[in-house]
C-alpha cells in the first residue's frame, strides 16, 4: 500500500485555500512582472546574465589579483658609483644656514637620497646639536611646490634666454645710473660675499641690502653706538653663572639658538661631579621657550621691557657708582635690586641679553654688561658673528628709493619682503615701480609673484657653499643629491650675471678657499689635501685668541631717553615659534605638526593671552578676536596661555602664507603687519592696541596636550639646587611598595624572578635611555628627528584635534598649580573642588616643566600582557617590540599603557588624498627611511627605541668582530638633542654613560610605583632658586 504523508491538516482536508496556494510556486505574490515590465528595467542594458557575468568576473579578478604576486623589477646601476653600497648609508658633512639658523651637520644619504640630518660633532660651535627646523629641512628638499624651471613673466623659460635678458636689463639699469639692489637675508658665506662684490664691480650702482624677516639690527646698531663696532658679538652661556635675558628667546630663535642651547645645556647639567649650575633669570611678557626654562621668571608688559632694563641698569650703576638714568615705571623695580645683586656677585661671569630690536635698549644692555665686566669673558666683541647682519636702515632707504623711481633692478635672494615686511602692501607698491624684478626663490612665493623673473635656487642639500658663522670658523656645504629640478644655485646666478670668469660656483668656491682660506693653516701642504679634509670634516676652525674686551663709549643717558615708554593699555608682541620660525619653511608639514613647546598647539598661530585677561575681555579659547593697532586690524583665535603678562597679546609670525605650497597656504594668519618702524629699526612690539570680540566666530585650535598640571603626582620630579647640594636624593625619595616581605623598592619585586627563570635575563645587551630633565629645554628637535627616522606620518589639524597625532615621542609640558593636596584644606576646598583647582595652572606665574615621553620599554610591560595576538612582545635586549603585521588593532595595549605612548593608525596615511602631505607622491616619499616599514591602517605603533639603528650598530660591530662602543649607537632623539639631555646606551656595558647616569641619585623611573620597570629613566629637574620662591 502506498504510504501518504501530509504537510498539514490543510492538505489532508484539501481546503480550497490550500489548493490555491499549492498551485503557486511562491507563497506570497512576487512583483516579478512589475519589476521586469518597468521602463527603466527594459531600458537597462544590463541583463541578468550580464550581471552574473560581471559578478563572476569581479570575484575571479579579485581572487586572482590577491593570489598573483606583481612582477617586481630590480634595476641595478649601469655604472655603480664607487662610494655607494646598496643598503649602506653614506654621511656627508655639510652646513645648514638659511639666514636664521646655523648648524654644522652630517647628511645621511641612502642610495643617493638625503633622508636624515644629524649634527656634526666636529663643529665646536654646535657640537652635534640640531633643532627642529634643521631636522625638518630635509623634507623641504622633496617639496613639490618647488619650481621645476625658471620663470620669465610667469612662463617657463630657458636659463640661457633668461640670463641674456637679465644681463641686458641690469646693464641698462646700470648705464642709466639707476640703482640695482640685491635684497638678501643675512649672508654668512665669505665666497658669496665676494660674488656680491664682483657683482657690484660689474654694475657700479649695485648694492647689497640685508633684510631678515625678523631683524637683529638693534644689536648691530647698539654695538656700533656702544663700542664703535657694528657687529653681533659671540656669547658664551656655558661660562655664565648668571644669565639675565630680557625677552630674548635664545633657546629657540635669538641669534644662534642651536649653539646657545648647547652652551646652556653645559651650564645646566649636574653630571660628572659638577656641583654648580647657571642661574637663569628671564624677564619677559610672553612665555618663551627660554623663559619656561628659567629659574626665576618675571613678567612685564612688552612696552615695560625697556624700563625694566633701565631699572636693572640703575641698580647696578648704584653699585658701581655710575650715574643713574631716568626710567619709566616697571613691575621689575621691586626686584631689580635683587637681580642686580646677583649679577654683581657674578661679575665677569654673567651675561645680560635683550631680544629687543631697539638699538637704545641694546645700548643699555651693553652698558650693564660693561659694568659687570662681561666683555672678554662671556661676550666676545672680536669673535664676531656673521649669522645676523640685517640692516633695517638700508631696507627703509631702499623703500624710499624704489618709490622715487631710482631703482632699476631688484634681486631677491632668500628674502620675501612682500610677505614679511611690516607694511607689505607699501613694499609691493614700491616694487611695482622697479623696472626689473628678479627673485631667486625656490618657489613662486609672495615676492616672486611680483617679480618679472624667478630664477629658482637649489635647496641647500643640492648646493655648494661655505659659511663663516664666526670670524675664523669656516664650514663647507656640499651637495648630497643631484638637483631634482631645473634649478640653479643663487650664487651661480649672480656669478653668471656678474660675468665672473669661473664656469660655476663650485670652481669659484674652490678658488676662493685656495686663495683666502688655505693660507690660514699650516698642517697640510697641498690645497687638494686641505680641501678634501675640510669637505670631509665639514669644518675648518682657526684659533681665535682675542677675548674681545672693549671700551664702552656709548651715551647711556641719551639711549635711556629714547627708550620705549610703558604703555597704558594692551600691547602686542610678535615672536617666532620654535617650529616654524620666520615662516620660510611654512610648507614643511613636519614643522607645522610639531606642537608648540609651550601651548602644544599645531597647525595654527593665535593670540596668546593670560586667562585672567581673557576673563576681562569676556573671551575664551578659540573665540576669534579682532586686534587693531593703528590702521592694522587682524582677526584670529584666542589661546589661553598661563604665565603671560597681563594686558599682553603674543602672536607668532611665520603663518598666514599665501604662496608657499599646499601644506602651508592659509595656515593661521600673517602677524607681520603688527610690526612697525621705530628708532630706525623694525619694532616687533606694538602698544595702544584695541581688542574686540567678533560675534559667533570660533576657530578650534588643535593641541596635543590639553591637561596642564601634574595633579599632585610626581611625574616630573623637581628640587632646588641648594636642597640637592644638601641631599643628592632631594626631590627624589626612594619609592617603597608594600609586599609580603615588607616594604621593598619596585626593582626588588619581580613576578618573573630572574634566577629561577633565566629566559628573562638579558645576557647580551640591555638598552636604555636616560633623560636629564635639567638639560631638556623642550625644543622639539627630537620630535622632528624621530619623524624623519621612523617614517612617522603627518595627520593634519583635524586629526590632531581628535587626539590622533602619530608622534612617537612627545614633550609633555606641565605648569605648577597654586593648589596642592597639602594646601587644599587651608583653602577650605572639598575633594572634588580640590581636584578641579589642581587642574588649573597657577594664576600668576607658574613654573614650567618639560618631559620628553616615548615608549618606556617596560620590562614588565602592561601592553604585552593584554595583546590577544602577541603582536607586542619583549626582547632579550630590553626592547618592547611591535610587530605591525601581527597587530589586529584591538588597541588593548594603548588602553593598558600607563604612559599613553602608543599610537594607532586610524587611517592609511600614505597614498591617501585625505592627508595631502609628504607620503602622497613619489617626490615626498623619497624622504622615507628605507629601513623602517610604512605602517598601514588599523595597526598600533610606538617608539621602537630606533631598533633599526641598534641593529645596524650591532651588525657593524659584529662585522668588525668587536663590541659596539658606548655612544656608537644613538637613537634619533639622542642624536638630535642640542643639549645632550637624552643619552642612549647599554646597561650591560658597565662603563657606559647611561649606566653612570642611572647610578646618579637624581635618576628615577616614571611612575615607578606601578612597577612596570621601564628601560627609560629620568633625572630630577633642579632649579637654581631659593626654596619656596619663584
Amino acid at each position: 500500500m502506498e504510504k501518504r504523508y501530509w504537510k498539514g491538516v490543510e492538505e489532508l482536508n484539501n481546503t480550497p485555500e490550500f489548493v490555491r496556494l499549492r498551485d503557486n510556486e511562491f507563497f506570497e505574490h512576487l512583483p516579478v512582472d512589475e519589476v521586469l515590465n518597468r521602463k527603466a528595467a527594459s531600458d537597462s542594458s544590463t541583463t541578468r546574465r550580464d550581471f552574473l557575468k560581471f559578478l563572476g568576473f569581479s570575484v575571479a579578478a579579485a581572487s586572482l589579483a590577491a593570489c598573483e604576486a606583481p612582477i617586481k623589477k630590480a634595476i641595478p646601476y649601469v655604472v655603480k658609483p664607487e662610494e655607494i653600497t646598496l643598503g649602506i648609508p653614506n654621511y656627508y658633512a655639510s652646513t645648514f644656514y638659511d639666514g636664521t639658523d646655523y648648524c654644522s651637520v652630517l647628511v645621511k644619504t641612502r642610495e643617493g637620497r638625503p633622508i636624515k640630518i644629524e649634527g656634526n660633532e666636529l663643529s665646536s660651535i654646535t657640537k652635534g646639536g640640531t633643532n627642529a627646523r634643521v631636522q625638518a629641512s630635509v623634507l623641504s628638499l622633496y617639496d613639490s611646490a618647488r619650481l621645476a624651471n625658471p620663470l620669465a613673466g610667469k612662463k617657463k623659460a630657458e636659463w640661457t634666454a633668461i640670463d641674456a635678458e637679465i644681463i641686458k636689463k641690469l646693464a641698462d639699469a646700470s648705464a642709466d645710473g639707476k640703482k640695482i639692489a640685491i635684497v638678501s637675508s643675512s649672508i654668512a658665506s665669505p665666497s658669496a660675499k665676494k660674488i656680491v662684490a664682483d657683482f657690484s664691480a660689474k654694475y657700479p650702482t649695485a648694492k647689497l641690502v640685508t633684510y631678515d624677516a625678523v631683524s637683529s639690527y638693534g644689536i648691530v646698531k647698539g654695538n656700533e653706538i656702544s663700542f664703535g663696532k657694528a657687529v653681533v658679538p659671540s656669547y658664551r652661556f656655558d661660562n655664565a653663572e648668571v644669565i639675565l635675558s630680557f625677552g630674548a628667546d635664545f633657546l629657540s630663535s635669538w641669534l644662534s639658538p642651536i649653539e646657545f642651547s648647547r652652551q646652556y645645556g653645559v651650564g645646566r647639567k649636574l653630571r660628572d661631579g659638577k656641583r654648580s649650575m647657571s642661574r637663569h633669570i628671564q624677564v619677559e611678557s610672553a612665555l618663551s621657550l627660554a623663559g619656561s626654562n628659567a629659574d626665576s621668571r618675571y613678567k612685564v608688559k612688552p612696552s615695560e621691557q625697556s624700563a625694566s632694563v633701565a631699572a636693572v641698569y640703575n641698580k647696578i650703576a648704584a653699585l658701581t657708582g655710575a650715574s643713574q638714568v631716568s626710567a619709566g615705571a616697571s613691575p621689575l623695580n621691586a626686584v631689580a635690586s635683587k637681580i642686580a645683586d646677583e649679577l654683581w656677585a657674578a661679575k665677569g661671569k654673567s651675561v645680560v641679553i635683550s631680544g629687543s630690536n631697539d638699538p637704545n635698549e641694546q645700548v643699555m644692555v651693553n652698558a650693564i654688561n660693561n659694568m659687570l665686566g662681561n666683555y672678554g669673558t662671556t661676550i666676545n666683541l672680536d669673535l664676531t658673528s656673521n649669522l645676523r647682519s640685517s640692516n633695517d636702515a638700508a631696507v627703509i632707504e631702499l623703500l624710499g628709493e624704489m618709490n622715487a623711481g631710482q631703482v632699476g633692478a631688484v634681486i631677491f635672494w632668500n628674502a620675501n619682503p612682500v610677505y614679511s615686511m611690516p607694511d607689505a602692501k607699501a613694499f609691493a607698491a614700491a616694487l611695482s615701480k622697479v623696472g626689473c624684478k628678479i627673485s631667486l626663490s625656490d618657489r613662486e612665493d609672495e615676492t616672486a609673484q611680483n617679480c618679472d623673473y624667478v630664477c629658482p635656487d637649489h635647496h641647500w642639500l643640492e648646493s655648494w657653499g661655505d659659511v663663516e658663522p664666526y670670524k675664523g670658523y669656516y664650514t663647507l656645504s656640499q651637495p648630497t643629491i643631484r638637483p631634482l629640478f631645473n634649478t640653479r644655485q643663487g650664487a651661480d646666478s649672480l656669478m653668471k650675471w656678474a660675468g665672473v670668469a669661473q664656469a660655476d660656483y663650485y670652481t669659484y668656491l674652490r678658488d676662493f678657499w685656495q686663495a683666502a682660506i688655505y693660507p690660514m693653516q699650516t698642517g697640510l701642504s697641498s690645497f687638494d689635501a686641505f680641501w678634501t679634509k675640510s669637505l670631509q670634516d665639514g669644518v675648518f676652525e682657526t684659533a681665535v685668541t682675542s677675548t674681545g674686551a672693549a671700551t664702552f663709549v656709548g651715551n647711556v643717558a641719551d639711549a635711556a631717553s629714547k627708550l620705549m615708554k610703558p604703555s597704558v593699555g594692551t600691547d602686542v608682541i610678535l615672536y617666532e615659534k620654535t617650529g616654524l620660525g620666520n615662516g620660510s619653511q611654512a610648507n614643511n608639514p613636519w614643522l607645522q605638526e610639531l606642537p608648540d613647546p609651550i601651548s602644544k598647539v599645531c597647525w595654527d598661530n593665535y593670540f596668546a593671552i593670560l586667562p585672567a585677561y581673557a576673563d576681562k575681555l569676556k573671551v575664551t579659547q578659540g573665540n576669534v578676536i579682532e586686534v587693531k593697532v593703528g590702521n592694522v586690524s587682524i582677526k584670529g583665535p584666542v589661546l589661553l596661555q598661563p604665565a603671560m603678562a597681563d594686558n599682553t597679546i603674543a602672536v607668532a609670525v611665520g603663518y598666514g602664507r599665501t604662496n608657499v605650497g599646499k601644506a602651508g597656504n592659509g595656515v593661521g594668519f600673517n602677524a607681520y603687519p603688527f610690526a612697525s618702524v621705530s628708532n630706525g629699526a623694525f619694532n616687533y612690539i606694538a602698544a595702544g592696541v584695541t581688542v574686540s570680540k567678533t560675534v559667533d566666530e570660533d576657530i578650534t585650535l588643535a593641541a596635543t596636550q590639553t591637561h596642564h598640571t601634574m595633579m599632585g603626582r610626581e611625574i616630573v620630579k623637581e628640587t632646588t639646587l641648594s636642597s640637592w647640594l644638601r641631599d643628592a636624593k632631594a626631590g627624589n625619595p626612594e619609592i617603597l611598595i608594600e609586599s609580603p616581605y615588607g616594604p621593598k623598592t619596585p626593582e626588588k619585586l619581580d613576578l618573573w624572578a630572574t634566577p629561577a627563570n633565566p629566559e628573562h635575563e638579558k645576557p647580551n645587551h640591555s638598552w636604555g635611555l636616560g633623560i636629564d630633565l635639567n638639560a631638556c629645554i623642550g625644543c622639539g628637535a627630537c620630535v622632528v628627528a624621530c619623524n624623519a627616522e621612523n617614517n612617522v606620518p603627518v595627520v593634519g589639524k583635524d586629526e590632531i584635534g581628535r587626539a590622533r597625532e602619530m608622534h612617537w615621542i612627545r614633550i609633555d609640558r606641565y605648569y605648577t598649580s597654586d593648589t596642592t593636596k597639602e594646601n587644599a584644606k587651608e583653602k577650605g576646598l572639598g575633594k572634588l573642588s580640590m581636584y578641579g583647582e589642581m587642574e588649573k595652572p597657577a594664576a600668576d606665574n607658574p613654573e614650567v616643566f618639560f618631559q620628553p615621553v616615548m615608549c618606556q620599554h617596560c620590562n614588565h610591560a602592561p601592553c604585552e600582557t593584554v595583546c590577544p595576538v602577541a603582536a607586542t612582545t619583549h626582547s632579550s635586549e630590553g626592547l618592547n617590540m611591535m610587530a605591525y603585521n601581527r597587530c589586529v588593532g584591538t588597541r588593548y595595549c594603548a588602553n593598558n599603557c600607563p604612559y599613553k605612548v602608543r599610537r594607532f593608525n586610524w587611517f592609511k596615511y600614505s597614498d591617501n588624498d585625505q592627508f595631502p602631505y609628504n607620503m602622497q607622491d613619489q617626490l615626498g616619499k623619497m624622504v622615507l627611511n628605507p629601513d623602517v616599514v610604512v605602517r598601514s591602517r588599523g595597526v598600533m605603533e610606538k617608539c621602537s627605541m630606533c631598533v633599526q639603528r641598534i641593529q645596524y650598530g650591532k651588525l657593524e660591530a659584529k662585522k668588525a668582530g668587536r663590541r659596539p662602543g658606548d655612544g656608537e649607537i644613538k637613537t634619533a632623539c639622542a642624536q638630535s638633542c642640542p643639549t645632550n639631555a637624552i643619552v642612549f646606551g647599554d646597561y650591560n656595558d658597565k662603563s657606559s654613560e647611561v649606566n653612570k647616569l642611572l647610578a646618579d641619585p637624581r635618576s628615577y623611573h616614571l611612575l615607578a610605583e606601578i612597577n612596570v620597570q621601564p628601560s627609560v629613566f629620568y633625572q630630577t629637574k633642579v632649579r637654581n632658586k631659593e626654596e619656596g620662591h619663584a
Binding site: K72, T85, G87, P763, T873
Partner: protein, 409 residues
Amino acid sequence: MSRYVSRYLTITLLAVFLSVISQFQAKAQANGESIFKANCTSCHVVGENKVVGPGLKNVHQRRSEEWLLKWIKNSSALIKSGDADANKLFEENNKIAMPAFNLKEDEIKAVIAYIKTESEKAPAAAAPGAGASAGTTGEEDDNSPIVLLLVAGLLAALYFVLNRVKKGLEKVVRQREGLPEPIVYKGKAWAREHKKLLYVVLILGLVFGSVKGWYTLKEIGVSQGYQPDQPIKFSHALHAGTNKIDCRYCHSGAEKSKNASIPSPSLCMNCHKYVQQGPKYGTEEIAKIYKAVGWDKDKQQYTGKTEPIQWVRIHNLPDLAYFNHAQHVKVGQVSCQTCHGEVQTMEVMNQASPLTMGWCINCHRTTEVKMDGNGYYTELHEKLKKQYGPDAKLTVDKIGGIECARCHY
C-alpha cells in the same frame, strides 16, 4: 591481445635501448664538455671569434691530434722547442702564452672530441635564437613529467580497455549460463543502500579537502620555484658552476650590506670586454650587456648611451620583513646555497627556498651561532655556556634570533 602486447613491448624496448645509447654518447661528450667549460671557456669559444685565444672551431682539422696534445699540456715548452706553428700562433696572439694544463691524455682527447662535435653543429647554434632551447643539461629533467604523464595515460587506457573486455566476457558468460542481469543501482536508491560507503567517502573527502585546502592556503604568496624569464639569458650554471666565479665577485654587497645587490653591467664588462661570445647563445646575449652599458664593440669604446637592465626580481621579501645579507654571510658564515639553492647548477635562476617566516625560524632554531673568533660574542659565549652548559648547542634562537624586532621594524 597478445599481438597488441608484443607490439607495445617492442616499441617500449626500442625506446629504452635508443635512450640508453644516446645517453652513453652524451656522457662521453659531456666529459669533454665539462673539461672544456672548466678550463677553456675563459679564453676560447668553439667558433670563429677570438676571445682571448683564437676561436677553436674545426681546430681538429687545422692541427694534428699529436700537436694539440703537446700544445695543451704545455704550450710554452712547445714554443721553446722551436715548433714553427707554435711560434707563429704565439706571435699572432700578442705573445700571450696559454697556460699549461695538467690533463690526462684521454681527457684532452675528450675535449678534442667535444670540439669536433661542437664544430659540426656550430652553424646551427650560431644562428640567432635557434637552438636556444637545446640545452644539454636541462633536457632530461624537462621531459620527465611529460614521460610520466604519457605512462599514466597509457596505463589508464589499458585499464579501460581491459575493463571493457572483462565486462564483455562476463556478459557472454551470463548469456551462455542464463544467469539474471545484475541489479544496477541508480541515484538515491544507490546512496540509501551504500550509506556506510558514502559516509566513509565523504569523511575521507572532507579530511583530504581540508588538508589540501590548508596547504593550498599556506602556499599563497609563497613563490618557491619562481623562475621568470630574464631580459638577458644569464646562466649561473656557466658563471658560478663551470667558470667557478665566486658569488661575491658580482654580488659584492653580500658581505657588507643588507643587499647582496645585482651587479651593474659595468662589472660585467670586466670580463665581457674580452669574452665576447658565449658558449650557448653566441654574441646575442652579451650584446645586450654592451647595449646596456653603451659599449661599441667594433670601436672598442663607450658611447655614453646607456640603458639600465631591468631584471625581474626573484627573491621578494615583503616590506614588513628586514633581511640583512651581511649578518648571514659575513657574521653567520652561511653559504649562499643554504638559502638560494644550488645556484651553480641553475641555467635559469629560480627561487629555491620558500622564504616564509616558518622557514626562517626553523633555520634559526637549528643553526649554531658562529661565535668563535668574533670578538662581539666572546663575553656572551662565556655567559651562555654557564647558562646552557658547556656543550649545549648555541643556536640562533638562544641569543634572541627569533624575536620579532630582529626582522620586523
